[in-house]
């Protein structure tokens, strides 16, 4: 109980107001969305932010729109709501699965897409990893205006981003093909995944893989695309054992992260198998459809 401290929780009512409050460094408010990361600061032995800027009333951060050429996902969309919104979109099966199986049901009703992407220090974000495999762009707004950039660039620049910046929404180009999301956990649910593989690809009638996208989460500090494997498999006929063996040869690419749940070498060692199952899953979806 923090009896003597006088923290603050302030609700911004528009994007402009949120940016202007964040620009006021004297107040040192930290944006809070679902709070599932920030409320655990003390458990991570970090100080709780002196004050929170609640984003929940900022209508510009809400909404899910599926258009013919792009999908727009508001930063405040929760994992739960994303799972519901994506029902019946087979080409986004991977993202839907990431939303439906990560964390626990109660946490999924709180945790947001924006929080999943913006949390520097969270190494196992399912949504951010699935979005990387979908070539996502993010729209950010700050005192210097609004801009968009590839998600991968955003993830790699989180430590240097302006403090008054807010992630507004994620944009996905509509793509052909299928996607899948595979994660290895030590229990069947509730704990963080040791490794995450999210893939997207077009598989032709002759089983040739094209437009392959492989995103890896939880293995290193920040999720990223496995471009060396994408290049190696592009245009190849899908043969599960060969894909696995190529992934094994190329996994020297990764410098696994050691943590209490698993050593880095273990995270890297499971990747070939996870890649094989992720690709097999999209192959089976194709056959099923």
């Amino acid at each position: 109980m923090r009896e003597e401290e006088t923290g603050e929780v302030y609700f911004a009512n528009s994007l402009d107001e949120a940016i202007s409050i964040l620009s006021d460094r004297e107040r040192s408010l930290v944006p809070i969305a679902g709070g599932t990361w920030l409320m655990r600061s003390e458990k991570r032995k970090e100080a709780l932010a002196p004050g929170f800027l609640a984003l929940s009333n900022v209508s510009e951060l809400r909404g899910f729109h599926m258009e013919s050429n792009q999908i727009s996902i508001g930063a405040l969309t929760t994992h739960h709501d994303l799972g519901v919104a994506l029902e019946g979109s087979p080409e986004l099966f991977g993202l839907a699965d990431a939303a439906r199986i990560s964390a626990t049901p109660g946490v999924r009703r709180l945790a947001t897409v924006g929080g999943n992407i913006c949390t520097d220090g969270f190494h196992s974000p399912d949504i951010a990893t699935a979005l990387l495999a979908l070539d996502a762009q993010v729209e950010v707004a700050g005192a210097s205006g609004t801009s968009s950039l590839p998600l991968s660039e955003y993830l790699n620049s989180r430590k240097e981003r302006p403090l008054d910046e807010i992630l507004v929404r994620v944009m996905l180009p509509r793509m052909a093909g299928a996607t899948s999301h595979v994660r290895l956990t030590m229990k069947s649910s509730g704990d963080y995944p040791v490794a995450i593989v999210s893939v997207g690809a077009v598989i032709s009638s002759t089983s040739v893989l094209t437009d392959l996208r492989v995103a890896i989460g939880s293995v290193e500090e920040t999720p990223r695309r496995w471009t060396a494997l994408e290049d190696a498999l592009e245009g190849q006929v899908f043969r599960p054992e060969e894909c696995k063996s190529q992934a094994r040869d190329l996994s020297v690419d990764f410098n696994g992260r050691d943590a209490v749940d698993a050593p880095g070498s273990y995270r890297v060692s499971v990747l070939p198998h996870l890649v094989q199952s992720a690709l097999a899953s999209i192959f089976n979806q194709k056959r099923g459809g």
Binding site: M1, R2, E3, E5, T6, G7, E8, V9, I32, G34, G35, T36, M39, R40, K43, L48, A49, G51, F52, A54, S56, A103, T104, P105, G106, V107, R109, L110, S188, S189, G190, D191
Partner: protein, 156 residues
């Protein structure tokens, strides 16, 4: 800072640090100790309560974000001396062991049965994934919960 909210149908005011978790406020200020403080970080579900109609971990909700909210805890779930269907099934099947996990589990599953009155065993298990129990091994809980739909004549 004063935060006004409704807890178990009664209007309440909390004075203090708005970053304090709802769980701390329930237990330390209002002496509603049904919601348990076990992991304090969203993993175990023992602190689950209903906030504006959703089953959520109280340890992850800063009280300052709950101005005007309607909160129901295990103490306010059913009128004193009565059980709802979930509580009755757990009691009838004699499932409870140490009992630490049950307030949170009852809150989660009571809300779940409101939205899915005819769940399969797999759906029951999936809805329970955020509620850890160290004693029962879960199967008896699932049997008890599946019996609710059976008794309503709903289960295939």
């Amino acid at each position: 800072m004063a935060i006004r909210l409704t807890i178990n149908g009664e209007k309440q005011v909390f004075h203090g640090d708005p970053r304090t978790s709802l769980l701390e406020v329930l237990r330390d200020t209002f002496r509603l100790t049904g919601a348990k403080d076990v992991c304090g970080e969203g993993f175990c579900g023992t602190c689950n309560v209903h906030i504006n109609g959703e089953a959520l971990p109280a340890c992850l909700r800063p009280i300052g974000m709950l101005e005007g909210a309607e909160v129901t805890t295990i103490e306010g779930l059913s009128p004193m001396g009565t059980f709802n269907a979930v509580q009755a099934a757990l009691e009838k099947h004699d499932v409870v062991q140490c009992g630490m996990c049950f307030p949170g589990l009852v809150m989660t599953m009571s809300k779940f049965f409101e939205t899915n009155s005819n769940p399969s065993r797999a759906e029951i298990k999936s809805a329970m994934t955020g509620n850890l129990c160290r004693c029962t091994g879960y199967e008896l809980i699932v049997d008890a919960l599946a019996s609710i739909a059976h008794e309503r004549g709903l289960v295939q």
